[in-house]
Symmetry: C2
């Protein structure tokens, strides 16, 4: 009789980091696609665009002028989602929206403060992260460090969310390569869920000989061994002494990856010069492979999870990692839609994590544009 | 000094149904949009398309032939994500993907079975849900009832997820108006989370005088009172004796709504003829307003949450409701992207639930195409 095979049969995998399940239907990639086809991101952009709000020397939408910056450039988001100061929200204000009959339990609301900035990766309008030199990517990491350091001094900031929306398909509203920082008074939902899982794991496994037992330390160790054991159990895309890029066992997006520190580093500020270089190397190798997959500027949303600022009691449990959520599935124009079933019931994917990792590993780490240049 | 205002200041709202937060930045809708612009869904389709896999009499991708169906038509999904039978997955099989060093805690996986079907709403290739007659929508509801009844008899089915992806923007791969059914052996993540919240609320509030205390019964009652109290606290879009369409206090998508039964109905099979008609009326009124908002076929993903089948012990806690998640934000071509910050940190919205409800209420319940016909 037929045996169970993870590449042929439906199964669910569990994400211990945020306590959720994903449905995996590996045979589903075979169905024909008659749905939406997107524009491939293959346009050539000029080095400098006089109309761009982010290019050096240009005037922004709000009238502020950018300096002639030579490397990275950080400025306050002109349309921030949260502000440093706004009036307090007394409990009595709730009646404005919830009405007199509102019970606290069903109509919970709280005021929130924070600040938002934009981080241009370089003055060049045409160079995305994978097209920058290693030194330039190191500079991006050092800029993230300064941002984290600065915001850590502000008692009004509880968490610093660094992220990048790359490509129009991922809602990026300006093509000049940039990331964002949204710093909030409270730890937002996702990092909070992860922190709870990390804490729970530590409580369960900490012992005298291993007081710092950590879910992600154990996970990277297990995946290093799995990768060494052979192709069929390897989810590692690339690694060096400090970091590992991996398609997590519980990946949701088709080519989702996670860059994880191999040692227990809580936040980006703990990285020394060598570790910065190692992180930049892995970011470069991973994003070049992404672009090479379909010979296009591979869209994704990327975000850094690390310890909250402001002396959070669980900060030590945190383990620095970067999530990459890229939407493309079949080629440069056909994406995965996480829609009806995924929104209403459970995320679903159409290939296994092992298949995705194997395809990423097989690609060249040298950017295709450099190859043909 | 300035006072806190929910239409000007950032705040977070809590969703007690699935235990999550949403960040609300009502001033953010003012920023200019330079990002992706989609194709508006305004094309005229023929009544019958000889190339369509779903039209009556046509041959499907796999060779099966559709009958000349006169109203709704249900058939097995030719590319099902889950199957009724597949080999068992013994614990030993895990080593295939997780490797020898895998601990159960970090590499949890389980085999899953089920079945998937497609539900054509009508033989007409050109008529979406809002364009059907009330009788035809009643027939769709009755078809959902038969599906639920049939699948309830199968001990291998634990939960029946009914949903619709409407429009190419929501990943719909065939324009012939249809919904889907994915029936699974286990209760999937989202309905499970909701069931836990409903159960917790009941445990906390049940008393001798109110043994059936229910979160959604209390919520609809509170929102009925809020709506009666005036425009500024009203999130109700439309209602009749049996159902209410509402922008939930904790909505994430710009014009997200929920159709909720006003009395404690656990699943679609408990609806009598009058309640079926009432549900059809609300579905029609809501989806016509959706199309009228930007004079286009308004895309969304819709899903029905109700009690699991197979005598689930918590079935009585469930309260029938339909979620509508539409992506459009500014007009027929500019959508909301739930990307970087939303994926990595917390969902974020750009207008308040009250503003969205007020705009939906102001629209005509008569479909714009009918108006101009
Ligand atoms: O089943 P369809 O319409 O081919 O596919 C669509 O709905 C499914 C269920 O929500 C998703 O998994 C697919 O990504 C989406 O394209
Ligand atoms: O800030 P941007 O690039 O204008 O906007 C983009 O990123 C934000 C943060 O993820 C999202 O809320 C927006 O929907 C998206 O379009």
């Amino acid at each position: 009789s037929e045996e169970f095979s993870f590449t042929d049969h439906s199964h669910r995998r569990f994400n211990p980091l945020n306590d959720s399940w994903v449905l995996c239907s590996p045979h589903r990639a075979k169905r024909p696609w008659l749905g939406q086809v997107e524009e491939a991101s293959t346009e050539q952009r000029p080095e400098y665009d006089p109309q761009c709000f982010l290019c050096p020397g240009n005037t922004r939408a709000t009238g502020a002028q950018n300096p002639n910056y030579p490397s990275t450039y950080v400025f306050p988001n002109d349309y921030a989602a949260v502000h440093k100061s706004q009036p307090d929200c007394p409990a009595s204000a709730l009646a404005q929206v919830a009405g007199a009959n509102a019970s606290d339990e069903l109509f919970r609301v709280e005021s929130t403060r924070g600040q938002c900035s934009v981080v241009c990766f370089s003055p060049r309008h045409d160079l995305t992260l994978p097209e920058l030199s290693l030194d330039e990517i190191c500079e991006v990491v050092r800029t993230w460090q300064s941002i984290y350091t600065e915001l850590s001094k502000d008692p009004g900031v509880g968490y610093v969310q660094l992220f990048e929306n790359k490509g129009a398909m991922m809602g990026c509203s300006n093509p000049h390569p940039h990331g964002q920082v949204w710093a909030l008074s409270d730890v937002p939902s996702e990092p909070k869920k992860e922190m709870e899982s990390l804490k729970k794991f530590n409580k369960k496994h900490a012992s005298n000989s291993d007081p710092h037992a950590c879910l992600l330390c154990s996970y990277t160790k297990a995946e290093e061994a799995n990768a060494a054991a052979g192709e069929s159990t390897s989810r590692v895309v690339l690694q060096n002494d400090s970091f590992m890029a991996i398609v997590p066992f519980w990946a949701v997006w088709p080519f989702e990856t996670m860059i994880v520190a191999k040692s227990h580093v809580s936040n980006i500020n703990e990285l020394d010069a060598l570790q910065i270089r190692h992180l930049a190397e892995i970011m470069q190798g991973l994003t070049c492979r992404y672009d090479n997959m379909f010979q296009c500027s591979f869209p994704y949303s990327m975000g850094i999870h690390q310890s909250p600022t402001a002396n959070h009691p669980d900060a030590d449990c945190c383990h620095l990692h970067l999530h990459f959520y890229p939407p493309l599935l079949r080629n440069a124009t056909v994406r995965k839609f996480l829609v009806g079933f995924e929104m209403m019931a459970e995320p679903q994917r159409d290939l296994t994590a092992e298949q995705a990792a194997s395809r990423l590993r097989a690609l060249s780490p040298i950017h295709y544009k450099q190859n043909t240049a």
